[in-house]
Amino acid sequence: VPTEASAGVGRWSETPERELIEAARQGDNSAFDELVCRHMRRAFVLAHRLLGQKEDAEDLVQDAFVAAIKNIDRFDTRRHFGPWMMRIVFNRAMNLRKSRARRRTEQIPETVAMNGASPLEAAERSELRDLLRRALQKLPERRRWIVEMFEVDGFSGPEIAAILEMPEGTVRWELHQARATLRSVLESTTRRST
């Protein structure tokens, strides 16, 4: 999972975000660039999760940072910049999805990793993935996002709660429900294979 570790190494690299935001407000390009470096990867991961395509996700990240600088004066520096930024990404992704009125296209790997597996094992894994895929698609959209963002993209519970603007308890509940559904698929497949 991309983290802030890849952020810039310039004069701002050790600077707290609050100071970066204040400097950006005063018109310092390099301070905002540092914020971009710290957050663009996670913004991309989220955008890709919601849009499903790399180019769309890149455009959305750019668009979201433009929106962020336009609204930087409204940002409450007592809060963290990351969740605010991710919320912008989320809102713009939702707007894009609505305006294009298209279904999310998921990039699903066509090939099944079969390294070291027998044809029977590979077939079982393939079947398992197929079942999981179907189970995922049956989940309510937000529940699916929550489990994917948590298990695959590495977002924490509080981060997801901030992005989706829902209580952490609700996120926990949705995660619980999604896991229960998906684990039942795993268990049924395991029982059949034994």
Partner: protein, 128 residues
């Protein structure tokens, strides 16, 4: 549900990654994306900087004007009260004879309107 583990599921996570796909972070040209973002935001940051400078200049001018106005109002009040004691149009002699401080004297002379007499007085002081 309160006890729901908020740790990644070691079995479910990798399977889901294969099924739903991970973001292709390795395929992104991060430097190029960063430059694109910087290019889009630079003009906005620059215009914000200019707006702030204009605002600062305006505030400075407004404050200076306020101080000047306050000073003028205060001074005219002083002159008015002194004029009340000495009459509407005191002569230089009346002002000099009155028991006033140096500041009050300056204020009275400045508001007195008898410019020629003042100039004569200043010239005579210089000759001394």
């Amino acid at each position: 549900v309160k006890d729901e583990s908020m740790e990644r599921d070691p079995e479910l996570g990798p399977l889901l990654a294969k099924v739903s796909g991970e973001a292709p972070v390795e395929d992104v040209d991060w430097e190029q994306l960063r430059r694109r973002i910087d290019g889009s935001t630079a003009i906005l940051i620059l215009s914000a900087r200019k707006a702030r400078r204009r605002m600062r200049a305006f505030i400075g001018t407004a404050m200076a004007a306020s101080v000047a106005l306050l000073f003028m109002v205060t001074r005219s009040g002083d002159v008015g009260s002194r004029e009340g004691a000495l009459g509407a149009n005191p002569t230089i002699e009346e002002i000099l004879a009155s028991d006033v401080s140096d500041d009050e004297l300056r204020a009275l002379l400045a508001g007195g309107g008898d410019v020629e007499a003042l100039l004569l007085l200043a010239a005579s002081e210089n000759e001394l």
